[in-house]
């Protein structure tokens, strides 16, 4: 019996569903409460801080010797920027922490925050691309003229030639609004000093405990081994919980300084205002097409608003450089030019969020395809069919190798499932009744499961990528897999157990996955970039295979045969083709307690360790949305959503479906609902769930998922990453569908989110109806 490929129920679910899982706020009980006085202005100087008698507080002036965050890429087109832990002179965004206040309870801490008086002297702020890029714009960081902190370019000569001879040139401008990753559990942490050992434990709602420890130890000037980082149950992260932040530095500083326990639990208002944002991009895209719709060249200008500061370890280069490198997507075309800039503004800093730039570039590419199709009289399937990569391995215009996928197959299956000709007929009939239906396709590929070979070209101070796993069987025959990565909802405790179970011939429920504790796990990176099942799963497979070799050797001695003839299956070690077998649990007992019998073995006991550091593997999908636009209100109703996706081998199909579905919902939110807004002065306008419109189940249609399984040797388990794809394809599919619905009114849609107000304004402008 094998376990990979089966929809096992998640081992994680029982404690989550019965309320027994411990989240950050549970872990905070008993610690003193910390709360932050935050800047109410977008830009200015701190003139004076008055802390009343009886209030315990820490300001930047107290944090002597604590260094700022200064994430860095070692490349000439990158300008580093520093983030003070608590600023002493300037503030750069509304919500920036300025003073930390300590009290016995969270309620008292809020009262204490009210009592602290900080006098700010506002200076002019920049919040958007247009004002930030002006030569005389106020500078967010003095050393960054025109607020430009990444300016990367590719411009091969072939691009100009392609445009000069192309039959058609299509130019569009794309706007992707600012979104929050919006984990259901906000950020939070607790720091405890242990006077016995002198060590400090930071319990923190994070996706990457090891790198958080490195980043925090660096700025605090600590030995890393003096700091233990523990992740409790994490209620979502989606990228927002990757990077260490000033709040955590302050907690550790307080715990060490005052030799006690301090906790901060972020509230929703703070989360929307001051936890990393994402997606704020503007693209100018030109495509050169042959008469038959073949794409010949792309020329893009990519602007990314990265907010006031950078993010460790991925830096503020992550969005523009990802956008530039991955823009060509699933399409085969030879000539590509790009300029990608990171623009710093007086807004909340950006960090990766599920999809990282690819929701925006997929929107751009897919709107370009539909716009070109309309111009050339092709249907959306035909133009994609003509341009999708069909032979693998393929090297993209930016030099990235694509392993095999099912690009065209996904498109053809999606087109068949939605019955495009049938839909067109229904669309015409509806239009005659004054109803506006639309269909939108999005085809995309997604680099997943990439290790240091993929990160190295970014020239990062910290090159991320590998994962290490330690697998050990104890004398009772139960297995622990200790992983450096730290799942926050992906179900790795189940899926990794399935992978290990197949190597060891034991049941998955005899395998416990240990994660989220730097004292208990090998150094590793975390859960981000659609990498868990590929890299951690791959490392588990290698480590478990090594452990299986040890088990076979022990069994061979006990069965008086050769290791090569031992099979591990169904909890037993058996002689191939014979009746003799031993329960694996007995092998474990013998390996530890009859060690004298195994003198030929290199080591006592049963453990193995492996690292996996792959180049990466491309997942792909085709998403289709069918919508109805209410042209009087600008409201969009999703009628149907379909995804045909290829993420290689499905380790646990139910978990894959959950990942796809969750991503699609966030993508729908990106397309139609969620947007962080600032006014011109840099005041944030969307800090409650009334204003920041997270969709509910009522707004989400049933989502149909169809799987393809292209297995390539780019992933030793055959699995490709599936964490982000849903969020990458859905926005473009939805916006293409909205655009299709209103095209006959002369309305052009090139932005997201397209809130009802905005869509109605476009319709009003196009139809010219005045009251």
């Amino acid at each position: 019996m094998t376990w990979v490929g089966r929809s096992l129920k998640r081992f994680e679910d029982a404690p989550l569903l019965t309320g027994r899982a411990r989240f950050m706020a549970d872990a905070a009980i008993g610690a003193r409460a910390v709360r932050f006085v935050r800047s109410p202005i977008a830009a200015g100087r701190i003139a004076r801080i008055d802390i009343p008698d009886g209030v315990s507080a820490v300001t930047g002036a107290d944090l002597i010797g604590v260094k700022p965050f200064r994430p860095r890429l070692n490349r000439s087109d990158f300008t580093p920027i520093e983030q003070p832990i608590l600023p002493t002179d300037r503030v750069r965004f509304v919500g920036e922490p300025v003073v930390a206040v300590i009290a016995e309870t969270p309620e008292a801490a809020e009262d204490a925050v009210d009592s602290v008086a900080v006098r700010f002297e506002p200076t002019p702020a920049v919040t958007d691309f247009v004002s930030a890029l002006k030569a005389d714009a106020p500078r967010v960081h003095d050393h960054a003229p025109a607020n430009t902190v990444v300016d990367a370019k590719i411009r091969p000569p072939a691009v100009e030639a392609a445009f000069a001879t192309a039959a058609h040139t299509v130019a569009i401008a794309i706007r992707s609004g600012r979104q929050s990753a919006f984990p259901l559990e906000t950020r939070g942490a607790r720091a405890d000093y242990d006077p016995a050992t002198g060590r400090t434990t930071l319990t923190v709602s994070t996706q990457m405990p090891h790198i958080v420890r490195t980043g925090l130890a660096d700025v605090l000037g600590m030995r890393e081994d003096d700091l233990r980082v523990v992740a409790p149950a994490v209620g979502g992260g989606f990228g927002q919980k990757m990077c260490p932040t000033p709040e955590y530095v302050v907690l550790i500083w307080l715990a060490r300084r005052l030799k006690g326990s301090f906790a901060w639990i972020e509230d929703r208002h703070e989360n929307l205002m001051a936890s990393f944002h994402s997606r704020d991009q503007a693209h100018t895209v030109k495509g050169a097409f042959a008469a038959d719709g073949k794409l010949l060249a792309i020329d893009v200008d990519l602007l990314c608003n990265i907010g006031a500061y950078s993010c460790f370890p991925v830096t503020h280069g992550v969005e523009p450089l990802m956008a530039m490198a991955e823009f060509p997507g699933p399409y085969d075309f030879p000539a590509y030019a790009a300029r990608a800039r990171a623009i710093t503004t007086n807004t909340c800093p950006m960090a990766p969020y599920r999809g990282v730039s690819r929701p925006a570039i997929t929107l751009a590419m897919e709107r370009l395809m539909d716009t070109a199709a309309a111009k050339l009289g092709l249907d959306p399937v035909a133009i994609r069919r003509r341009n999708l990569v069909a032979t693998f391995p393929y090297t993209s215009a930016t030099g990235i190798k694509y392993d095999a996928g099912a690009y065209r197959e996904a498109l053809e299956i999606a087109a068949e499932k939605v019955d495009l000709p049938g839909f067109r007929a229904r669309q015409m009939a509806a239009r005659a009744e004054g109803r506006y239906l639309g269909i939108g396709f999005a085809t995309f590929n997604e680099r997943t499961g990439y290790g240091t070979p993929a990160f190295a070209p970014r020239m990062m101070d910290v090159t991320l990528g590998y994962e290490t796993v330690e697998v050990a069987m104890d004398p009772s025959g139960f297995v622990e897999a200790r992983i450096g990565a730290s799942p926050h909802g992906q179900g790795l405790a189940t899926t990794l157990a399935q992978i290990i179970a197949d190597e060891l011939g034991v049941a998955p429920d005899t395998i416990r996955v240990i994660h989220g504790d730097t004292d208990r796990t090998p150094y590793g990176w975390g859960t981000f970039a659609s990498r868990g099942i590929v890299i951690v799963g791959g490392a588990c497979k290698i480590a478990a295979a090594k452990l299986a070799v040890r088990l076979r050797a022990v069994a061979a001695t006990l069965l008086q045969t050769e290791a090569g003839k031992v099979e591990l299956a169904d909890g037993r070690a058996a002689l191939a083709g014979g009746p003799a077998s031993i329960p694996i649990a007995e092998l474990a007992r013998a390996a530890y307690h009859q060690a004298h019998q195994f003198k030929d073995q290199p080591d006592i006991g049963l453990s193995a360790r492996a690292t996996y550091d792959p180049d990466g593997t491309y997942s792909n999908a085709c998403h289709v949305a069918i919508v109805e636009v209410d042209v009087e209100t600008g409201g969009v109703r999703l009628e149907r959503f379909l995804a045909v996706e290829d993420a290689g081998r499905l380790v646990n199909p139910t978990i894959v479906d959950g990942q796809v579905r969750g991503g699609i919902v966030q993508g729908i939110a990106n397309a139609l609902f969620e947007e962080i807004l600032y006014d011109q002065a840099g005041n944030i306008l969307t800090t409650s769930l009334m204003d920041y419109a997270v969709p509910t189940a009522a707004e989400i249609p049933p989502i149909e998922i169809h799987h393809l399984e292209t297995i390539t040797d780019a992933s030793i388990t055959g699995a490709k990453g599936v964490g982000e794809g849903g969020a990458i394809g859905a926005p473009a599919a939805v916006i293409n569908a909205v655009a299709d619905a209103v095209e006959s009114l002369g309305v052009a849609v090139y932005e997201m989110p397209i809130a009802p107000q905005r869509l109605r304004a476009l319709i009003r402008a196009a139809t010219g109806k005045k009251r």
Binding site: D111, H269, T633, R771
Partner: protein
């Protein structure tokens, strides 16, 4: 997200509650369902020094209809209106409106009277009270006042209610035979506050509209009746052309609010669309 310190009182009678309000003065607030007040306190947008919790005053927990009037006590929760309470046009209409109010947990706790005391311009119950010419009963230290809805609503979160008074009851005259009612609302998500909504009642006699009540909520600073639209409907056949003309008038007449979800132009568009749809709904219902 934690409220500022406050004192808490839980009187057992309306008289005690009013006495407490009189003693505590401007800084006291009445707590009924708490679905707006407590959220505002957690945001520290509201910082009452004291809360007077009326949930233990059993005499305020009633809904009944007698003599052609629907009487709603101060503790009647939104959820109570999800099933028909009266005969006639309101029998189906009030449950339909109630289902547009927020989400089930909020409807289980929040009260009709609390909505009127809070006076959010996008409150469904404020629109119902205004459109149906309700009388708001305000109980103070000296006497009871009965204020017509037309005078009660004065602006955003602003009403005729004094700090020493409680909205103790709402009285809605029940429309008689021949009335048809319809409702239409547009919000971004299920359960969100309306960006605009319309409650429309028309009385049809001999194939013509004899009387009309057009109420708009969410469009301006308070729920409004659009008298010009009502006049335009009277004498017309209840058809699409008449409804469209009334909708255009409503959109023109309104003095729209502007916020991040709906600027003034958009609100006008929505008011027009919702008016037309509410009238169409009235004809179907």
């Amino acid at each position: 997200m934690k409220p500022a310190p406050f004192a808490y009182h839980a009187p057992r009678s309306l008289a005690d509650a009013v006495r407490l309000l009189t003693e505590l003065g401007d800084d006291a607030k009445v707590l009924a369902g708490g679905q707006s007040l407590v959220a505002a306190m957690n945001f520290r947008l509201a910082r009452p020094a004291a809360l007077v919790d009326i949930n233990r005053i059993a005499s305020l927990d009633f809904v009944n209809s007698e003599g052609g009037t629907l009487r709603i006590g101060a503790l009647a929760r939104h959820a109570r209106f999800e099933r028909p309470l009266v005969e006639g046009v309101l029998g189906g209409l009030l449950p339909y409106v109630a289902r547009h109010i927020a989400h089930l947990p909020i409807r289980s706790r929040g009260t009709f009277a609390g909505s009127l005391a809070h006076a959010d311009p996008a409150s469904e119950w404020c629109l119902v009270a205004r459109t149906l010419d309700a009388e708001i009963v305000l109980t103070g230290p000296k006497a009871e006042r009965r204020v017509p809805a037309a005078d009660y609503f004065q602006g955003v979160f602003t009403t005729a209610l004094r700090s020493d008074e409680i909205v103790s009851e709402i009285r809605i005259p029940l429309p008689g035979a021949g009335w048809h009612g319809g409702f239409a609302e547009f919000s971004r998500r299920a359960g969100d506050f309306a960006l605009a909504m319309c409650l429309a009642l028309i009385r049809i006699e001999g194939g013509r509209i004899a009387e009309a009540k057009i109420g708009i909520g969410g469009g301006a600073d308070r729920p409004l009746r659009i008298a010009a639209a009502e006049r335009a409907l009277v004498g017309q056949a209840p058809d699409a052309a008449a409804f469209a003309a009334a909708a255009d008038i409503a959109a023109r007449e309104i003095d729209p609010m502007s916020d991040i979800h709906a600027d003034a132009d958009y609100r006008r568009d929505l008011v027009g669309a919702m008016t037309r749809r509410a009238l169409a709904h009235a004809l179907r219902a």
